[in-house]
Amino acid sequence: MSNNILNWKNNRDMFPEADEDGKPIVDLESQKYVKVWQGPNHPGVTGNMSLELTISGDEVMEAKTHVGYLHRGFEKLFERRRYIQCFPTCIRMCVPEPDINEYNLARGTEVLGGIEVPEMANWIRMLVLEMARLQVLLRMVPGQAGTMGLGLAGTWGLYYRELILDRFEELTGGRIYHMFILPGGVRGLLPDGFKDRLEENLVKVEAFMKDVDRLIYTNAVFKKRTKGIGVIPADWVDEYGIMGPVARAAGFERDVRKDYPYLYYDQLDFGYNIAHNSDVFDRFIVRRHDVDTTVDLIRQILNKMPKKGDIKAETPNVLHWKIPKGETIIRCESSRGEYLFYMVADGSIYPRRINLRGPSYTHAVAVLEKLLINANISDVSAIMVSLATCPPEIER
């Protein structure tokens, strides 16, 4: 299906006239249309981004994604920092799940710089990445209901997320920004008793997920508001490069951890969580199953990881580590899907280019703009959140 709105399946009558290219001609004077800005200060928008909606009645005629509220220019900042100094910056490209940035950047630096990471460090990295995924999902899964006013479960979820953040604090010294994965390895071993405390938390999380099921999954309102809403046709998935849970909810087996295994994911036992209706509800369901998978993966990692080992490989002095000329692509599976860094080194102590390509770039711009056409304005937040948008990925 093309993105030309002339071919839109619904009744064209209510839509604005379109020019030859299919661009809508919105005549605000006609009083048929109203422009509504959703965000950047809007609880349904994940901050730093806004949607310019043209509505007619309750229905969205046209949607435009606007970024530019972040004003950081991460990728440019990287070009003026030593590799090690990029870390405190890179984590800010994704507040909820900073660890994927640390991992990609560290891995890229290691690949280009020819560093072998000790086994122990790799297991800890995997643990960190799964813990990060878990705490994101604990906010996102119940939070999906929050976008339609069912805020209760979302609020509860925050507590369980905090439990995981407690573990992060204990392991990495930070709750949100962990700064734990650095070139060569990680910054520490698991503290004594960490495994048991994490296990206690996992048990609580599992119990909580039962509450979530009762509160959201078996919930008439939630179902009504999410089933058949924001349906992404299967043929969009490859056309737009849709990734992660959104692709999996459309029936696609897509998961970097399985498709291009990194770290020791190939030693872990897990499958793809798939659904087929490709609506907001199914995306919720996929993520709901992702929680179980992640909890299970954390347990597998804790059981399989060695008890002792080096946490860091020897690297050149970080202050003047010249990374040899070269380029590489590093990717991992974030909670939102494939998270990719393209890194170019020019032989100096600074990276020449670090380019981030995360799922939000397509999900929240190309896909969202199209998906919102004909949506009810009250569903806009639900649809957007179901795509898992992280604006810094767009404006980096």
């Binding site: 604090e169 010294g173 390895g185 009762r214 509160l215 078996t218 080096d310 860091k312 970080v318 003047h320």
Partner: protein, 600 residues
């Protein structure tokens, strides 16, 4: 959708009976985790103000500032890091890289202040409630470093290969080794401050990393015209203060310097150092002595356009570097490489010319615009114990000079060296080599007043001497030399238990119940050198200020009471080559200033 979907969500009410999860008093009930990256703490005693934390901080949150009560001294910049919490993001990279391990983050995380300026503070100086907090982020351990704490090993000749030869024993770094070693530097510059010549050490080490050895050579010559020599035998004060040495092994600064000099061929020096054309200024300077101080003064004066003539008593240039330091530590061709370059700048040397004998100092004073004297310490000192006036009792300086001159020295199968310094080790090891050549086995005992842990000689000198077959038996005070039928039989010693009295004066005490006899037919005294200032006539002495211990007073430019006479090196300061070089450089600048002022 079913009726269940309508009813089940009401189960949420169950939660009403759950215990609330909110922590009522987080400040007291919820301390940060053991590794929490909270507020900074710095142990001021351990911190040396190297500034490495400042360099790594990507937020530029750290500034090194002077702190009251902390003095700038060797190995300590006197500065301490001040942190700006308007910029800090508590990444803890500053802690991980801290070279001394003084810096940490505590687990404190609440701080309320009305005045925003207060959030810029100097940990350890500005008192904070968390100053005694033990928990928080510390540099991870073990095997977690941002730079290598271990030196790249320098290869030496094996004891078997070197014990009968004067071939240089230190092999030098390869390109790969040098670059790896250079990588460990954090560019703090603490070394530069301590180096008597204030060499641009981090800069030339950087040149090695950049494989720009020509730039490296230029940096060396800015402050030191004898890099091949210093790259081998410098006393490397810089390494003693190297910040990496606080937790690991100091950088091999000396060997890195040698690497730069070794890699640059002498034919290219003039081009690299841009000294092909020097405009003459029409003035001439005489220099007495071609030791490091004289050569250094000559080099810098020649570059400034002066006509320089060196008067040297001995047949070759280099002073103690050639006639004292043995060849296995400093090969003559390396001395020549440094000196030949200085001569190529137009510096003339008149060998075998003794001032005070062949020509007087007064004559020089008249003939030249200024004179620099760096005549060194070339007189031996005697223990003056019974028997020390025997003909088979020698001075180490005398023997070392003979070895350099290629003259045969008296040798016996069993010899005794008195002295525990580096010079004593030099003569001991030289004798061991000669004995090995002549008798196929070393038979020399070195003994000193100081016990092994207090011996002034470098540790590696003692170790290597033993490896070469010499016996080092320290902690004994020489009593008398036993002579039978006019032949030396050996040295009687008594255990020495203290060197200094309560006032700190040198006053060795020994235990006469614990005696020992070292067998040997020749004795070498190596207990220090004295100066020979006989070239100073009474008239000149009259003009100079000389202190109780016989030292001539000079100003900070090494200018003496006679304005045209500048003096430096061992006779003024010492005790090593690099001080001589620094003196010569300063004196050269002083002479230039003096003559420039005079000509106005």
């Amino acid at each position: 959708m079913s009726i269940k979907d309508v009813i089940v969500p009401f189960s949420a009410w169950r939660k009403v009976f759950d215990k609330p999860v909110t922590i009522k008093d987080p400040i007291n009930e919820r301390p940060g985790a053991d590794r929490y990256r909270g507020f900074h703490k710095n142990d001021l005693e351990t911190c040396i103000g190297c500034g490495t934390c400042e360099v790594i901080c990507e937020n530029e949150a750290i500034d090194l500032v002077p702190v009251e009560g902390i003095e700038t001294k060797d190995g300590d910049s006197g500065l301490r890091p001040r942190v700006d919490y308007g910029r800090c993001c508590w990444c803890g990279l500053c802690v991980d890289i801290c070279t001394t391990g003084s810096l940490s983050l505590t687990n404190a995380y609440t701080w309320v202040e009305e005045d925003p300026e207060k959030y810029r503070f100097t940990p350890g100086v500005d008192e904070k409630p968390w100053d005694n907090e033990e928990k928080g982020w510390k540099k991870p351990e073990p095997n977690y470093e941002f730079y290598n704490l271990k030196r790249v090993t320098m290869e030496h000749l094996h004891p078997e290969e070197r014990s009968d030869s004067f071939i240089e024993m230190v092999k030098g770094y390869s390109k790969e080794q040098a670059e790896k070693e250079a990588d460990r530097c954090v560019e703090c510059g603490i070394c530069t401050a301590t180096c008597p010549a204030h060499m641009g050490i981090p800069e030339y080490i950087k040149a090695i990393r950049n494989n720009d050895l020509e730039e490296g050579l230029r940096i060396l010559y800015d402050t030191n015209p004898l890099p091949e020599i210093c790259g081998r035998i410098c006393t490397h004060k810089c390494e003693a203060v190297c910040t990496i040495g606080h937790r690991g092994e100091a950088l091999s600064i000396r060997w890195l310097k040698r690497y730069i000099a070794d890699q640059n061929p002498s034919e290219k020096y003039k081009t690299i150092l841009n000294s092909e054309f020097i405009e003459k200024n029409g003035k001439s300077i005489a220099i007495i002595g071609s030791g490091p101080s004289g050569l250094s003064a000559a080099h810098y004066l020649a570059l400034m356009g002066y006509e320089v003539t060196i008067y040297e008593k001995l047949p070759h240039a280099g002073g103690m570097m050639r006639y004292g330091i043995p060849e296995y530590r400093l090969p003559y061709d390396q001395i020549d490489k440094d000196i030949d370059y200085i001569l190529s700048l137009g510096v003339k040397i008149l060998y075998n010319t003794t001032i005070g004998k062949d020509i007087t100092l007064e004559e020089l004073g008249k003939k030249y615009n200024a004179v620099f004297a760096g005549t060194g310490l070339h007189l031996g000192r005697s223990t003056r114990i019974e028997g020390s006036d025997h003909k088979n009792v020698y001075q180490s300086i005398e023997l070392l000079r003979k070895i350099t001159l290629g003259e045969e020295i008296d040798l016996a199968e069993k010899m005794i060296v008195i002295g525990g310094g580096n010079v004593a080790m030099d003569i001991t090891r030289s004798i061991a080599r000669l004995q090995m050549k002549k008798y196929g086995k070393a038979g020399v005992i070195a003994t000193s007043l100081e016990t092994e842990d207090k011996m002034p000689a470098d540790r590696e000198e003692v170790v290597e001497a033993r490896e070469e077959g010499a016996i080092v038996d320290p902690g004994w005070a020489p009593q008398h030399i036993e002579i039978v039928d006019d032949k030396i039989k050996g040295l009687h010693v008594a255990q020495c238990h203290s060197l200094f009295d309560e006032e700190g004066n040198f006053n060795p005490q020994c235990n006469l119940d614990n005696l020992k006899f070292f067998e040997g037919t020749m004795v070498v005294e190596s207990i220090g050198q004295g100066m020979d200032l006989s070239y100073l006539s009474d008239d000149i002495k009259h003009e100079l200020e000389i202190d109780k211990r016989g030292r001539i007073k000079v100003n900070e430019d090494f200018q003496s009471g006679l304005p045209w006479l500048f003096i430096g090196g061992d006779i003024i300061q010492g005790p090593d080559v690099i001080h001589g070089i620094a003196n010569g450089h300063t004196a050269a600048k002083g002479i230039d200033t003096f003559l420039f002022k005079e000509s106005k």
